[in-house]
């Protein structure tokens, strides 16, 4: 690239900070870029030495113009990795595309934020429970740059003021936990001068070797997030005894580098949160919910000493409407990419978005380069399986907690598929039951017991018919009684007579119906036991019928003769008594036949 030869840059590396968090190192570079050359400049190259570039997890550059614009209008600039042939291969280059071209003589400020993981090395690598964890950080005092540097200074902020050693140069100042180098002026391109810091750090070195986040969308109103963590304490490995006694009595002194809890910031309306591992629920967790966020504090089963590992799963449900947006047929999920755990470095992050069965036109978009592919997952009531979008990224730091989107098409009707499947399943079970009840599964159709059973069934059908007829007769009697009551109320003799006439006809028909039933019942041998009762029933019913008729005609006659109500009552009373008794007997008989 020819441009850089003509460009002279003024870098002021205002701050290089090894910040408070554990493993990642943040470097913030504030560059004041001036273009002295004759050419117009449209991009700036950033260089990282090999030592750092392999640990580089996150890089952004933003510019704010020097001419007094408010600080709020910071725009992050597009960055791409470039391969330069004529540059030392030990460095990796990224080029930042400037928002507008910088003419000769103009200047602007560029903020570069780079996050490195695994840049702190514990030295010594193994410590006992009583030892203090020391870490080593190496960097260059000069900012590696393909350009000439006019002014540069460096300040290093360490987590603690307890510094074991650091590289002393002529212009080094120490303020508590901050070490300042520089300013240095007029450095040639690619100047390097290594510096090391060896300092105490008891901050949690929580590293997730692998995190699988599964985001399952249910259009019934829930987004279920399940996160499987494989965690390791990435600091100095513990050696020798782990004494619980010491750890309990003097936690700050014995096992100071251990961490025993982690904090996750879940979205505000997270519900049904759980925390478990392979062998069951872990009871040591607390959830604090307020209107803006839910804070989940989880304790691993045991305190995490250096080099110790653990694995667990947390899961929570989120309301669908907070994360899913739709425009006509298209829907998209908008969620943060990284882990809700604060201060966690993730070596491999796999995000799986499980879409409902029947989704189509699936695509995913993320603000940083990412590996992605699709697979299917079979869950409850699935036939073909649900499409899963898998996104994978290595070296993830909390700065990656940006929104990513998954677009897909899904018709609302497909939602009904699962309930319908359930309904049809139950329907099938009931139909099968009905079918089984009606099917004749007997093997030998000619055996005696089978025939007897069949005959008995036929007898039962006949008896049912007899009962039916009797019941209709009884209903007829009730009709007659009702007509009598009407008569006493209205005195309409004609209507009463008409009722009697129709009843007569019907009863006659019924008795006709009864005859063939009785004769066919007599034909069955197995009915012999029940037959006398049936016959008795029929006889009693006929008697009852006669009495009812008699009562009816007596009453009607009485009315026609216009005799007094009391007189009629008196005449009917005896009949009435008999009728009640007979009715009782018929009822008993019916009950008896029923019970057989």
């Amino acid at each position: 690239m020819a441009i850089s030869r003509y460009v002279l840059l003024v870098f002021t590396i205002a701050m290089l900070a090894s910040t408070a968090i554990s493993d990642p190192i943040l470097t913030k570079v504030n560059r004041h870029v001036e273009n002295p050359g004759p050419l117009i400049m449209s991009e700036v190259l950033l260089a990282f030495p090999e030592l750092q570039s392999k640990n580089l997890a996150y890089l952004t550059a933003s510019s704010h113009e020097t001419k007094g614009k408010p600080k709020g209008s910071v725009v992050s600039l597009p960055i791409k990795a470039v391969n330069l042939d004529d540059r030392p291969s030990a460095a990796t280059f990224y080029s930042v595309l400037l928002p507008k071209e910088v003419a000769a003589g103009e200047s602007f400020t560029l903020d570069v934020l780079a996050v490195f993981t695994h840049a702190l090395r514990p030295v010594p690598e193994q410590i006992t429970q009583a030892d203090i964890q020391l870490v080593l950080y190496r960097d260059s005092v000069y900012y590696l740059s393909p350009y000439e540097v006019k002014v540069q200074s460096l300040s290093v902020k360490l987590p603690d003021s307890k510094i074991e050693s650091y590289t002393k140069l002529e212009s080094t100042k120490v303020h508590g936990s901050e070490i300042k180098y520089g300013p240095y002026e007029n450095l040639p391109p690619f100047s390097l001068s290594p510096i090391t810091f060896h300092f105490e750090s008891n901050l949690p070195f929580a590293v997730a070797q692998e995190l699988v986040r599964e985001i399952e969308i249910s259009h019934w109103g829930n987004v279920q997030v399940t996160e499987h963590y494989k965690l390791i304490h990435g600091g100095a490995k513990s050696k020798g005894e782990f004494s619980r006694r010491d750890f309990q009595a003097r936690p700050n002194d014995r096992g100071a580098s251990a961490f025993s809890f982690l904090v996750a910031h879940l979205p505000a309306r997270a519900r049904s949160v759980y925390y478990r591992d392979l062998i069951g629920n872990i009871s040591t967790s607390h959830l604090r919910v307020d209107s803006r966020k839910s804070e989940l504090v989880i304790e691993p089963r045991y305190p995490m000493l250096g080099g110790w590992k653990t694995a667990f799963t947390i899961g929570y449900g989120l309301p669908l409407q907070d994360f899913l947006y739709e425009s006509e047929e298209n829907r998209f999920l908008n969620m943060t990419f990284g882990s809700p755990m604060i201060e966690l470095v993730i070596d491999t992050l796999i995000v799986k978005v499980v879409l409902p069965e029947g989704s189509s036109g699936i695509s995913a978009a993320a603000p940083f380069p990412i590996k992605q592919w699709q697979e299917t997952k079979i869950s409850h009531l699935d036939i073909g399986g649900r499409p899963v979008v898998v996104l994978e990224k290595t070296n993830v730091v909390p700065e990656h907690n940006q929104y990513f989107q998954v677009y897909y098409k899904f018709s609302g009707l497909s939602m009904l598929r699962e309930p319908l499947m359930l309904i049809s399943g139950f329907l099938f079970v009931f139909a099968a039951c009905i079918g089984y009840m009606h099917a004749d599964t007997s093997i030998s159709k000619s055996s005696a017991s089978y025939l007897a059973k069949q005959q008995w069934e036929e007898v039962q059908v006949l008896i049912q018919k007899v009962q039916n007829v009797i019941n209709r007769c009884l209903a007829m009697h009730d009709n007659l009684e009702a007509s009598l009551r009407d008569l006493s109320r209205t005195g309409d003799v004609q209507a009463c007579k008409a009722a009697r006439k129709s009843a007569d006809g019907l009863l006659k028909e019924l008795s006709k119906e009864m005859k063939p039933l009785l004769t066919s019942l007599q034909a069955y041998s197995s009915a012999a036991q029940i037959l006398p009762k049936v016959e008795e029933l029929v006889a009693k019913e006929r008697e009852l019928q006669e009495k009812v008729m008699l009562k009816h005609s007596t009453a009607v006659e009485g009315y026609e003769r216009k005799s007094g109500a009391r007189d009629i009552d008196h005449r009917v009373a005896l009949l009435q008594q008999k009728i009640t008794a007979l009715k009782q007997e018929v009822d008993d008989l019916l009950q008896f036949i029923d019970d057989i």
Binding site: E241, R245, I279, N281, R301, Y302, S379, T580, Q584, D594
Partner: protein, 721 residues
């Protein structure tokens, strides 16, 4: 009970225009459905109180094998050689377990997945026992119906649904053989009784298959194969021999035997071991009996028959004895096992097999636990026996025999209360049902009399004579009502007792311990899982862990590490070696541990929390079992005047043995209770005797937050230069 419930509901049902029979059916089916659901949900206390997890010790092995079965398929499971247990011997899993439970759970899992319910195998395992308990209530209903009537069946279903004796082994998470086996046991018995009652080949075939399932599920099948011949023998003696019995027993025995031999763990034992000989003997006896019957039928001369009978019986008995004697002598028929002996003679185990005697569930049962597990059934049981004897039939004879024998076994071993429970429930159900039925019949006939009397009017002479007859009845009726209320009160007491017992005593997973804190809040000690998960995550995958055998299954299942001994106590010598290591001095123990490639030693210690079932309290058993094989370990060395103590007055060997050192390492500095000296052991209530413990060959690797589990690492040998 059903009859009582019948009265108010029947009016409602009449509005549906149902016939009495249909009403009855509807009520019966809905009661059964409710009982089915009740039996399931009453066992879910543990899931609600704690979580959906596997309980206790053995279930962890079952869970692990089920997991293996679902992941690797049946053939791999059948041929599984487990390197992770009994190091360095290993265990042929397929040939040393009853696969019924695992296959059942895996089958349920497969079916659910086929129906597209993507459940985890753990949930299936956790809920297997309650599911089978529910099925058992159905079997109890049919069994009750078979031996008495539908009322007794319903009551039996209700009683067994909540009976604590059964719940103790079938709560959710108690994924053990017994959970399935009690169902199989009762089902087999039911099918056999049905076969005897009907003489149908189909039912006896079904009972053979039921027996096969039972054999595949639990070692308790020996009870079936001894009870049924005994029952047949009793029927023969009491002159109730019939063709039905012949068909039922022969078909069941022959087919059941052939099927049972397909289970690898049983195999030829079924025809060779002493425990199964009774069944075979009765089988041959039946043939002789049938033959004699036939001869009697053919010979008209009774004198001739008498002679023939004498000759045949003598021949049969001599041939049988000679065969048995020869088999015993040649070793072809193996003698009874220790477990079987200890059933017949409760003192046998204590003298001869300490490993059986050391298990708490093998102790003789205390009266209180009978009361605890049976409650009113204990009183109803004799009443039910009375009713059974009053209406003696083939079926009632069976249930009486089942009840009496299982009650005896329940008295010998605590865990066998489980086997007695179905019988006790059934017999009690007969008592309840018969009593309530008698009382309600009394009440109902009275009511009817009054009704008819009033409708017919006082003029009828018939009614008045009836009223005269009924004069004694007002008193009787009141008595009946009082008795009904009494029965209702007792039964409701039973229900509340059962619920209370279930929630308080039987729903604890024993992996997670819960205690009441100072302010009444619940404190959870999850130390076991803490330790096991630490082992799983932070030790090399091939690490060998030595612990007392109780924790073996849990370490392999939850910690996924190789253990030296586990709960399948098949090799007494191996266990004794571990016991010896634990009870030796450290420098002697290290030799044993090095020879066993031990990397970690795990001990359970309750001194900080006051958890009493820890290794110090089990230690005497380690000494006994170790001493049983290695005479260098002598129990008196650990006792002072026959007393077991850990304080200053303890025996010097006790104070310096490995177990003591591992449990109390650095415990002497610890203040456990306010106002007590440091090193105060809360489980035993004493100040420990050796506070200055130095470990030479081991180092503390991990101790859980409440000190319940302590893990030590065996240091590599020192360099010589």
């Amino acid at each position: 009970m059903a009859a009582v419930a019948n009265m108010p509901v029947s009016d409602l049902l009449k509005s549906f225009k149902l016939k009495t029979k249909q009403q009855e059916l509807l009520i019966r089916v809905s009661i059964l459905c409710l009982v089915y659901i009740l039996a399931f949900i009453t066992r879910l206390f543990s899931v609600l109180r704690y979580e959906s997890m596997i309980h206790e010790f053995d279930p962890y092995f079952n869970y692990r094998t089920t997991l293996y079965l679902t992941q690797n398929g049946f053939y791999d499971f059948w041929n599984w050689f487990d390197y992770e247990s009994w190091y360095p011997l290993g265990r042929i899993v397929g040939g040393t377990l009853y696969p019924g439970l695992m296959v059942t759970a895996a089958l349920i899992y497969r079916i659910l997945h086929f129906l597209r319910f993507a459940v985890h195998i753990r949930e299936v395992c956790v809920l297997t026992a309650p599911f089978f308990a529910s099925n058992t209530t159905l079997v109890a209903y049919f069994f009750g119906k078979e031996i008495w009537d539908t009322g007794a069946g319903l009551v039996a279903a209700i009683l067994i649904a909540v009976c604590p004796g059964y719940i103790s082994r079938s709560v959710a998470g108690s994924y053990d053989n017994e959970g399935v086996a009690i169902f199989a046991l009762l089902f087999t018995f039911y099918l056999f009784v049905k076969a005897v009652n009907t003489g149908s080949l189909a039912w006896s075939l079904a009972s053979a298959f039921g027996y096969f399932y039972m054999v595949s599920a639990w070692g308790g099948y020996v009870f079936i194969i001894n009870l049924i011949p005994l029952y047949v023998l009793v029927l023969l003696i009491t002159g109730r021999y019939s063709m039905r019995l012949y068909v039922a027993y022969n078909c069941m025995y022959v087919l059941g035997m052939l099927l049972a031999m397909q289970i690898r763990f049983v195999g030829f034992q079924h025809v060779q071991s002493g425990e199964h000989m009774a069944a075979m003997g009765v089988f041959f006896l039946m043939q002789v009996f049938y033959f004699l019957d036939w001869v009697k039928h053919m010979l008209s001369d009774t004198k001739l028959f008498q002679a023939f009978l004498r000759i045949t019986v003598t021949c049969a008995v001599t041939v049988g004895t000679i065969a048995l004697g020869l088999g015993m002598l040649s070793g072809y028929i193996s003698p009874w096992t220790g477990r079987f002996y200890s059933l017949l003679d409760p003192t046998y185990a204590k003298d001869h097999i300490p490993i059986i005697a050391s298990v708490s569930e093998h102790q003789p049962t205390a009266w209180s636990s009978f009361m605890f597990d049976f409650h009113i059934l204990l009183f109803l049981f004799p009443a039910g026996l009375y009713f059974c004897f009053k209406r003696l039939s083939d079926a009632t004879i069976f249930i009486v025999m089942y009840g009496l024998t299982s009650m005896y076994f329940a008295g010998v071993m605590v865990r066998l209360i489980l086997v007695a429970t179905p019988a006790v429930c059934l017999i009690s159900a007969i008592a309840v049902s018969a009593t309530v039925k008698n009382l309600t019949v009394l009440l109902r006939s009275k009511n009817k009399g009054v009704q008819t009397g009033s409708t017919k009017g006082s003029g009828s002479s018939k009614a008045s004579s009836k009223a005269l007859l009924d004069q004694s009845q007002p008193f009787q009726k009141n008595g009946a009502i009082a008795l009904l209320f009494g029965a209702f009160y007792l039964l409701s007491k039973y229900a509340t007792h059962c619920t209370w017992v279930t929630s308080e005593a039987y729903s604890s997973p024993s992996i997670v311990l819960a205690a009441r804190g100072a302010h009444g809040s619940r404190v959870i000690f999850d130390d076991y899982r803490e330790a096991y998960f630490w082992l799983r995550q932070n030790t090399p995958p091939d690490a060998k862990v030595m612990s007392w055998w109780d924790y073996g299954y849990q370490i392999t299942a939850m910690g996924n590490r190789t253990v030296i001994v586990d709960n399948n106590t098949w090799n007494n010598t191996h266990i004794a070696t571990v016991g010896r290591a634990m009870s030796s001095y450290e420098d002697e123990a290290i030799e044993i541990m090095r020879s066993l490639d031990v990397d970690y030693v795990l001990v359970v210690f309750g001194g900080v929390t006051g958890y009493s079932s820890d290794d110090i309290n089990k230690f005497l058993w380690m000494v006994r079992i170790g001493g049983g094989v290695f005479p260098v370990i002598k129990e008196p060395d650990y006792l002072v005047n026959g007393e077991y103590r850990v304080d200053k007055g303890a025996a010097p060997k006790m104070l310096n043995c490995l177990m003591y050192k591992l449990c109390y390492y650095r415990f002497g500095e610890m203040l456990t209770e306010y106002g007590k000296p440091p090193g105060y052991d809360r489980a035993r209530g004493v100040e420990i005797g050796n506070k200055d413990i130095k470990l030479e060959h081991l180092e503390e690797a991990f101790t859980t937050s409440n000190w319940i589990v302590r893990i030590y690492k065996v240091k590599p040998p020192n360099n010589r230069w």
